[in-house]
């Protein structure tokens, strides 16, 4: 568990989190002064514009307001950080997308964002002064009466609106997934190259949201206005923003636009910094000086169950395989005393295990798809979906026999497909849990290497326990599906089941590339020949995965013929998984070609089954 006591949390994660938050706080005054520079904009009196701006940024009230905004965005950033995850979530249907966004913790986050948006806008109103700074102003005509300052109200409400939109889109578009860049640049240059595009992005996003907000305020604006006027016993007679003509106030528009852009930029910049700091490569030590620190070492961390740490470990392995000759040498070295290649064996077995687990899952999925198809021919049911993958999911439960098959296979009937925890739509870094409980496959690919300990990959029987409630629930669901809206919400999204298999295949990509790079470098660097002995196993694992993937993509091309769905609930967060899937295939091919090109015809000496032999020959001739 990534509990409170995990060393990575203490020694790396908190520091990185702290640094990212500190930098976002340090850069806050810069962003606010730019904002003030633009709000004070006056082309006719540039001298006053500049001096006014300089006076304003150094005044005591500005410093106080900046501190308040700083506190607010600090907590916003801190909270967003809590929802981060490394593997994207794949939703089975639209209902699961809605449920995912409306989880209590996420609703709480939305509420916080709304509150913080409103509060920040209140502070920004303080900078602007005049009728933007307070909710109640003196009416123009008579000195005695108090009126509602609608400009201020509109600003605060815009902040609330932006907060809600930000929170929902953050989860809907999968912004909470931490992705790792392919090149490792210095943070300074990353931030530098981020600033200008992000500025324009904030401006355009704010403009877009402002358009919708104006519409909303025009239609529903009387509700908060009336409520406030009656509760605060204000003068009803004057309302400044109740007609289209009155709303065409350029200054108000300009302030709202800039304030929205600033808010957008503050939030997104904090997320960006967090991502930069945490997607950085952490160099795990290769050797521990004392036995107690063994768990800190790379080979131990590779087998950890905490996804975030596992990602970091494989990222580091990939990095060292590609770039660090010194650390590669350590992997190729022999143990003292004894002269065993323990280090290489540990690293390589972890990688091969990971690759084999994916191969097994794919084979199980294909097997299930095939059995689903054949059973569907035997028991055709009413209301079949055109979609092939959906056939498996909906029809297989109509018959107990199929039902049994489905449960023995790797399917789960929870709302979202997400690994490692299937029923969880997301995992925070704090509660990233145990390893995937997907059940073992029917037809397992058996790698024929006996020299290494190979534990059964991902066996967990907990899925098989509660059959009757699930069955009842499914029949009830079938009845509900007669309704059109329910049918729309429950219609399975295309190839969701396939995407679910690939949610964390970034790990597999790193494992493949690292193995390939280590094997290629071993040609000139491995002085003891430790890698040579394992090349057949590695090659076999890769070829098996290659076959399974080829088959999978053939199946996918059949599914895709039925057309793609394109609405807001069926997209985005899971498209990244589809790209990961393509990426995996590409890097597998490149890795195989790399090994084959390095060792060339020597590989013919390896004993392989005729099918693999043929494939190897084709790869050698660059026919595949």
């Amino acid at each position: 568990m990534f509990g409170k006591s995990h060393w990575f949390l203490r020694e790396v994660y908190y520091w990185r989190l702290g640094a990212s938050l500190a930098w976002s706080m340090l850069l806050l005054p810069v962003q606010i002064s730019l904002y003030l520079f633009l709000t004070n904009f006056s082309i006719l009196s540039p001298y006053q514009w500049i001096t006014g701006w300089l006076f304003q940024i150094f005044s005591a009230s500005s410093v106080g307001l900046t501190l308040l905004i700083g506190c607010c965005s600090f907590w916003s950033a801190f909270w967003i950080v809590y929802f981060f995850t490394v593997s994207p979530v794949v939703h089975k249907d639209r209902l699961s997308v809605i449920l995912d966004v409306s989880k209590p913790s996420r609703l709480l986050h939305t509420a916080w964002c709304a509150l913080s948006g409103g509060f920040t806008m209140w502070c920004l109103g303080g900078f602007l002064g005049d009728r933007y700074s307070s909710l109640v102003v003196l009416c123009d005509d008579s000195r005695s009466k108090l009126c509602l300052s609608e400009h201020h109200l509109m600003m605060v409400l815009f902040g609330v609106y932006l907060g809600i939109v930000h929170s929902i889109s953050h989860f809907l578009y999968g912004c909470n997934v931490l992705s790792f860049p392919v090149i490792k640049q210095l943070k300074f240059f990353l931030v530098k190259s981020y600033f200008l595009p992000s500025f324009f992005q904030a401006i355009s996003a704010s403009l877009k949201q402002l358009f919708y907000f104006y519409l909303l305020y025009f239609i529903f604006g009387t509700l908060p206005r009336g409520w406030l006027q009656s509760n605060l016993a204000l003068d009803h007679s004057i309302s400044l923003l109740d007609s289209v003509y009155n709303m065409l106030d350029f200054r108000l528009f300009w302030y709202l636009w800039l304030s929205g852009a600033l808010l957008h930029h503050l939030w997104h910049f904090a997320i960006f910094l967090f991502k930069i700091f945490n997607s950085e490569v952490y160099e795990f030590p290769m050797e521990a000086p004392i036995l107690e620190q063994e768990e800190l070492c790379l080979h131990q961390v590779l087998s950890t169950n905490v996804p975030f740490v596992k990602y970091q470990a494989f990222h580091d392995l990939h990095n060292l395989a590609e770039h660090s000759k010194k650390r590669r040498k350590w992997i190729y070295s022999l143990s003292q005393p004894g002269g065993h290649p323990h280090r290489w064996n540990r690293v390589y077995s972890q990688c091969v295990e990971l690759i084999d687990s994916l191969t097994n899952q794919l084979l199980a999925y294909h097997d299930e798809l095939a059995s689903g198809k054949s059973l569907q021919r035997q028991f055709p049911s009413v209301g079949q979906k055109a979609n092939q993958s959906s056939n498996v999911l909906t029809n297989s439960v109509d018959h107990p026999a199929v039902y049994q098959t489905a449960l023995n296979g790797s399917h789960d009937y929870s709302q979202t497909y997400s690994r490692p925890i299937w029923t969880e739509g997301y995992q925070s870094i704090e509660n990233l849990g145990v390893d995937s409980p997907y059940s073992s496959a029917h037809e397992c690919y058996q790698p024929h290497s006996t020299q290494l300990r190979r534990r059964p990959i991902h066996s967990d029987d907990s899925v098989r326990t509660d059959q009757p409630p699930v069955y009842r629930r499914e029949t009830r669901l079938q009845r509900l599906k007669q309704l059109r809206l329910v049918a729309y919400l429950l219609e399975p999204l295309p190839d969701a089941a396939s995407r679910a298999l690939f949610t964390d295949c970034q790990l597999h990509i790193w494992a493949l590339e690292a193995l390939s790079a280590l094997v290629i470098c071993s040609y000139s660097e491995d002085t003891f020949g430790v890698v040579q002995q394992t090349i057949p196993t590695i090659l076999l694992s890769m070829l098996a995965l290659n076959n399974a993937l080829d088959k999978h993509f053939k199946l996918l091309s059949n599914i895709k013929e039925h057309g793609q769905l394109k609405d807001i609930l069926s997209l985005k967060s899971s498209t990244s998984v589809a790209q990961l899937r393509v990426d995996l295939r590409g890097s597998l091919k490149t890795s195989l070609h790399g090994i084959i090109a390095t060792f060339g015809h020597n590989l013919h000496n390896i004993h392989l089954s005729p099918e693999y032999k043929k494939q190897l020959t084709q790869l050698m001739e660059y026919k595949e």
Binding site: L186, S587, L603
Partner: protein, 520 residues
């Protein structure tokens, strides 16, 4: 430093160089040479590149449909016209329209537009005085920064060998790209709506058939099936990688392990590092230089050369992606090539007839950086020299258009820029014999004479030719000539003279060992 004067005199006009045999360039007269060419190259299979005689109407049409219509200025209200010109030609187009139509437009609007336009022009002329290439039109830019000598006129616009097989891609003048393979007669022809103004091609290393094409507006990555018999792969098998500011793409580089693709444009200071399957780009670059005109990845993947259109070039180290900068070149860097061990960079500038070398063996342990030497060394002088051939004076040499170094680092071919002098033999390609150990040495060994009337446009070496080196010359007429250079490499000579490896160094190397395999 060597000079072209030390070289053997060029073959007389009418003779054609057909091959190199252990250091001697063998020439034949044109009739014999054509027979020699058809007879083949001692069992080496090569693709047959035929200049396309069929008329292939390009999908990307040069002429827009708009040109068929006359502009109508009479009835349309001015604001509508301004809106159209804003859509067609952008902001500056709209301003021009406003300034031109003074009698239609209220005077404050036209005067504001006029002052805006003047300001824009002043800024762009200022920028143009710092970076002259910014003022070029797109076509001028492409022909200036393309590796082809005469991009506008040449039939062949780009050429690329597959890094592992005997397969090559040729971009033709009509914007189609064709793939020629030695093993198959099927010639797939690639066309795409965006495939316009092709300047560079790059095959992905360690892949069967993935080809990146640099176009005027984007990068296209074609995923081809090597076993397919189809001659027209569908446009669906091409990925379009597009970035707003990064166009036109004039140089592309795959990293030698085939993971990343980098594209660059002379108009954009940043390069785009693409994760191709995910279609994500990462920006990479430093200010200064005005753009990136040439990218060359060192064979060991640790360094990347990025030349700019000004007299600056940078070399990036590819671990932390930091760079070192070399300045004070006499002009922009025109061509460059890495030695096979990635320790030496040969380059030349656009305005000086010389070859420079830069060493990269100064890596200090523990210090990140490229390990490059402070200054480049002039190692070859290729300024114009005069030879007496058959009582005729032949002038050879001058500014360099392109250089190609064979993958073993034994031969360097140099293509010269076109000159306007009548008596200048700028169609000769100079060939140098190169030695890397103990220090870099360039030895001029002769000139390659082409058939009369043929102008060489592009040169490159096949990456996997095992009998020496195979120089490929693309001509303006669309002809592609494969010139074999048969020689015994220094490396294999050294290996023969040494005692067997096992005896010499025990465990340390197992290049010649058989693989140890495990039986289960």
């Amino acid at each position: 430093m060597c000079s072209l004067q030390e070289s053997l005199s060029p073959p007389p006009f009418g003779m054609v160089t057909v091959k190199e045999h252990n250091g001697d360039l063998i020439t034949k007269n044109e009739k014999e040479a054509s027979i020699h060419e058809t007879a083949g190259l001692q069992g080496v299979q090569l693709p047959k590149v035929v200049a396309s005689t069929e008329i292939l109407a390009s999908l990307a049409i040069d002429e827009s449909a708009q040109s068929a219509f006359l502009p109508n200025k009479g009835d349309i209200p001015f604001w509508k016209r301004a809106w159209y010109s804003c859509k067609e030609h952008g902001m500056s187009g709209m301003l021009e329209e406003m300034t031109d139509e003074r009698h239609d437009v209220p005077w404050p609007v036209s005067s504001v537009a006029f002052s805006c336009l003047t300001a824009i022009r002043a800024v762009s002329s200022l920028q143009g005085s710092i970076y002259p290439h910014m003022t070029l039109t797109r076509d001028e830019l492409l022909s200036e920064f393309s590796r082809v000598r005469d991009w506008e006129e040449s039939e062949i616009r780009a050429f690329a060998w597959h890094p592992h097989t005997s397969k090559c891609a040729v971009a033709w003048e009509n914007d189609s790209v064709k793939i020629y393979s030695a093993e198959s007669d099927v010639v797939p022809s690639l066309k795409h709506r965006y495939q316009h103004g092709v300047t560079c091609l790059a095959w992905k290393p360690f892949s069967a058939a993935i080809l990146a094409i640099g176009c005027q507006t984007c990068v296209l990555v074609w995923h081809l099936d090597p076993t397919s018999q189809s001659t027209r792969p569908s446009a669906g098998s091409a990925q379009v990688l597009r970035h707003v500011s990064n166009s036109p793409v004039t140089t592309l580089a795959w990293d030698p392990r085939g993971r990343l693709l980098i594209s660059a444009s002379p108009w954009d200071t940043v390069m785009m590092v693409w994760n191709v399957p995910r279609e994500i780009s990462y920006t990479l670059g430093r200010g200064g230089g005005g753009g990136v005109s040439l990218l060359q990845w060192s064979p060991d993947k640790t360094r990347l050369l990025a030349a700019t259109p000004t007299s600056i070039f940078r070399v990036w180290e590819t671990h932390h992606w930091t760079c070192e900068k070399w300045t004070q070149l006499s002009g922009r860097l025109q061509a460059a090539c890495w030695s096979p061990d990635s320790q030496i960079l040969l380059f030349c500038s656009v305005s000086e007839p010389a070859i420079f070398s830069l060493n990269f063996n100064n890596m200090k342990p523990g210090v990140a950086g490229t390990g490059g030497a402070q200054t480049a060394v002039k190692c070859g002088d290729v300024s114009t020299v005069t030879f007496d051939v058959d009582d005729e004076e032949v002038r050879v040499g001058g500014l360099i258009q392109d250089m190609a170094w064979d993958p073993r680092g034994e031969r360097l071919a140099v293509l010269f820029q076109k000159t306007s002098d009548e008596d200048h033999a700028d169609n000769l390609i100079a060939l140098f014999n190169t030695r890397l150990q103990p220090v870099l040495e360039l030895i001029p060994c002769g000139f390659i004479q082409s058939e009369s009337g043929e102008e060489p446009q592009l040169i490159s070496f096949q990456p996997n030719f095992d009998k020496g080196a195979l120089l490929t010359i693309c001509y303006k007429s669309g002809k592609v000539k494969f010139l074999p250079l048969f020689f015994i490499s220094t490396q294999s000579l050294n290996e023969q003279s040494r005692p067997p490896l096992q005896a010499q160094s025990g465990w340390t190397h197992h290049n010649s060992l058989e693989l140890y395999s495990v039986n289960d």
